[in-house]
């Protein structure tokens, strides 16, 4: 058996085709097509197939500043000021034909056996997208190599012989070893322009353009959004955000608000209202100023979150620590620079989470967690928006 045969025997349960009529009953693509774009409205020309484009090596390299890593920040500003100033300035921001974003995402993993003898690796990827006001657009994916988090981490990695593959432990205690790819050949990103989808937590571009610009009315619409909003649950339940309580509601609502403030083509007035909705949420606080993962200085808004896993994907807890989320905003422009997740309390102890599909018991243990050597305030993961603006310049073709 060769590797292709082995691959063909993987996930065979998922490979069974369903009858198209059964699919059609469940998948209403026609409704999706209609809500996404009225036929009378036209978008820009989409290059349907485009030759692979290669970004210049290092064009999107992340330079992590020491204070985003340590979490130190200064000069506390009243929360209301920052968010409301951001809202006012977001409203004044120029509108344009295309919403253009460049995003870089990273997750931090500890490599090594002890507090004294370890370094941290930033596991990264990114994308760039243009979306017009009708939801038509193009996007490109960018792969990055995983890199040492700080200059000090780089020295330790180099002292270890600059390995291309570095091992990290299995967080569920089954003894398997996961490896991160730090090979330099992935430093140059590759991708190609292709049409984008048009769904932002279930909202289409045209729906986003029509969202209320009054914060109370906007919050009301967002609370009615249906989806699977739980960090983990034994079955995938679809419910409106308003069915959630407390921190869970803040988490789901802030996920939608931050999409409106980052990747979604929201008009300036809607972005302004989104900032105001955020300002009204319990537990949302200003936390001084800091630099984001791209080295830009902004004001910090802190959100209380216990877990940073994406919502709606998991059936069991994945983390043993507690976390908080920071939004780094430039109040002068009303632009969200980055979403940064930090360790609030490092992972401790162990937690049995039941058997997996293969019947083997799964146990989360602190000693196997990616943030096992982190201290409160340390970086856990981030999304940085290198560009997030309306522009009249069309996407490259």
């Amino acid at each position: 058996m060769n590797e292709l045969d082995a691959l063909r025997r993987m996930r065979t349960v998922l490979a069974q085709e369903e009858h198209p009529e059964r699919l059609a009953q469940r998948i209403d693509w026609q409704a999706a097509a209609k809500t996404a774009l009225p036929p009378s409205r036209r978008g820009f020309k989409i290059p349907l197939m485009f030759a692979a484009a290669t970004l210049a090596a290092g064009a999107l390299v992340v330079y992590v500043q020491s204070d985003v890593v340590s979490g130190r920040s200064t000069a506390v500003v009243p929360q209301g000021n920052v968010l409301l100033v951001a809202a006012t300035n977001a409203e004044k921001a120029p509108f344009g034909k295309y919403w253009h974003t460049k995003t870089i995402m990273g997750e931090i993993n500890a490599v090594g056996p002890t507090v004294a003898n370890h370094y941290k690796v930033d596991s990264r990827q990114g994308n760039e997208a243009y979306t017009d006001r009708n939801g038509m657009g193009v996007q490109m994916f960018v792969d990055f190599a995983d890199v040492p988090l700080t200059a000090q981490d780089r020295k330790k990695w180099q002292a270890a012989g600059s390995p291309e593959w570095v091992p990290i432990p299995d967080p569920i205690g089954l003894g398997r070893v996961l490896k991160l790819d730090m090979s330099a050949r992935n430093q140059s990103a590759q991708g190609w322009w292709m049409p984008t989808g048009d769904s932002f937590h279930g909202l289409t571009s045209t729906q986003i353009a029509d969202l209320p610009t009054d914060p109370k009315a906007l919050e009301n619409v967002l609370l009615g959004l249906e989806g699977n909003w739980r960090a983990y649950s034994s079955k995938a339940e679809v419910e409106p955000i308003r069915a959630l309580r407390g921190q869970e509601r803040v988490r789901a609502l802030s996920d939608v608000v931050t999409i409106l403030l980052s990747k979604a083509p929201a008009p300036p007035a809607v972005r302004a209202a989104a900032w105001r909705v955020l300002a009204a949420q319990p537990g949302v606080q200003a936390a001084g100023r800091a630099t984001d993962p791209l080295g830009r200085t902004g004001s910090v808004i802190s959100l209380p979150l216990e877990t940073t896993v994406p919502l709606g994907l998991f059936t069991a807890p994945q983390q043993l620590g507690k976390y908080h989320r920071q939004l780094i905003v430039n109040p002068d422009t009303g632009i969200l620079l980055a979403i940064v997740d930090r360790v609030a309390s490092p992972p401790r102890g162990r937690r049995e989470i039941g058997s997996g599909d293969d019947g083997r018991p799964r146990v989360l243990e602190a000693k196997n967690m990616p943030d096992r050597f982190s201290r409160p305030g340390d970086l856990a993961s981030y999304q940085a928006f290198e560009v997030a603006e309306w522009t009249n310049t069309p996407p490259p073709n």
Partner: protein
Amino acid sequence: MAMVSHAGDGLDDLEDAQIVAASLRDPEKFGELFSRHASRLHAYIRRRLGSVLADDLVSETFAIAFRQRERYDGRADFSAWLWGIASNLIAKHHRHETRMYRAFARTGVDPAEDGVAERAGDRAEAAVLGPQLARALASLGTQERNAVLMLAWGELSYTEIATVLDLPLGTVKAKIHRARKKLRKALPLEMSDE
């Protein structure tokens, strides 16, 4: 490409490109293309991203294809054009897909099979090799992963993959070669030596 057609709608004898053209006047006709292509595409996406995302992405793929059907010029196969749109939507979930492979590699539990595992019969072999393959899959770049999985799971030919990804045939072959090399390293020696 696999085809499923329905008798009595008068579309059976038409090529995909003719149906696209007909759907410009009569949008309902586009439904025939869903009947022909959705099952195979759905199974492929489900294998990569799990059941929930598969439904969403098939819906999104056909919605985009429908909205942009005027721009389909018939030079490439309709199915290749459709798979190209789907590939890009899949790439949007690259991070999630990588996370699932890593979780599978770490734990031996495949998150993509969440909820369908009870229906699985003999999973012994998958349980042995799956996590190692998943670890190798997690390490592949977007295009390497696309190319090798279109070959192994999508059952597309090299030429079809080149059309879908709009890459020269030689580039596709090189990407698949590199991906296979990484996957081979993941297998136990006695198997990869065969």
